[in-house]
Amino acid sequence: VLRRRVGEAILVSGEVEIEVLEISRSRVKLGIRAPFKVSVVRRETLPVARENQLASDLVADLVTNQGKEGLGELVRLLQQPAAAREPAFPPDTGESAD
């Protein structure tokens, strides 16, 4: 653990500099200087990056592997009018099953 004040910085491996720019009640603003080859991302984007890789495979899968049927089925589901869809739960008729 390192304690820093506004304007102070830390160095990682001598080439990545992280400076505390601003501190508010619940947030810290950091400035990061790093070589171009170093990827700097927020941690929460990592699972999204994995999802995006899968997302980029979807078109290929629908068009190449499943052919027009795959894409057609997806479009059919999306265009199905809400009223024609099966209700998620049976309507309440007011009658008791007992």
């Binding site: 984007t45 999204v48 999802e51 078109v59 894409l71 589901l77 999306l78 199905q80």
Partner: protein, 172 residues
């Protein structure tokens, strides 16, 4: 002396997409993602393509790499109650606080879908159907064409899966 100041004609951009075939667009139609998308940081130019017979699907075709293409839907078709929350950083990246924008847009805590911003849910394969993570929508400032994928620091809006009856079901 020759006057070289001839009117500039904007040439349409053409690309052969393996998935959409030959497509052509005006440069002004391109969406600019300054940081790309997570996992696709180098793909900074995306073109929205809508095929009338496939509405409400919207393809996001990379203008940089033909093979990269995403399938998306307007978020409200997945969850009509969806509320977009943008961090200060995301608002800044989108240019929503830019002084060139109408004051009403600058002052809004939550910009209007369709008028100010386009908000799309990215579709991911899930078994024989698709799902989408509404905590990471693609958001585009329609006034500037700037886009980001707005990843929420903590799950809130949730993920939804398209069921076989056409309904979207919330998943963990």
């Amino acid at each position: 002396m020759l006057n070289l100041a001839v009117p500039e004609t904007v040439m349409p951009v053409r690309l052969h997409s393996p998935w959409l075939g030959e497509i052509e667009w005006e440069p002004v139609s391109e969406l600019c993602f300054p940081h790309g998308l997570p996992g696709f940081e180098d793909r900074k130019r995306l073109v929205p393509v809508e095929i009338p017979s496939q509405r409400p699907l919207i393809y996001l075709q990379s203008a940089d790499k033909e093979s990269v293409c995403f399938l998306t839907l307007p978020v409200l078709t997945v969850n009509p109650a969806f509320e977009l929350r943008l961090s200060e950083d995301d608002r800044s990246l989108l240019g929503l606080d830019c002084i060139d924008l109408p004051p009403a847009v600058r002052g809004r805590a939550s910009p209007n879908f369709g008028n100010d911003i386009l908000c799309l849910a990215l579709l991911v394969p899930s078994g024989r159907t698709v799902k989408t993570n509404l905590d990471a929508p693609i958001v585009v400032n329609l006034h500037t064409g700037l886009g980001i994928q707005a990843v929420a620091p903590e799950p809130r809006a949730g993920s939804f899966r398209l069921a076989q009856n056409g309904e979207w079901e919330r998943v963990c």
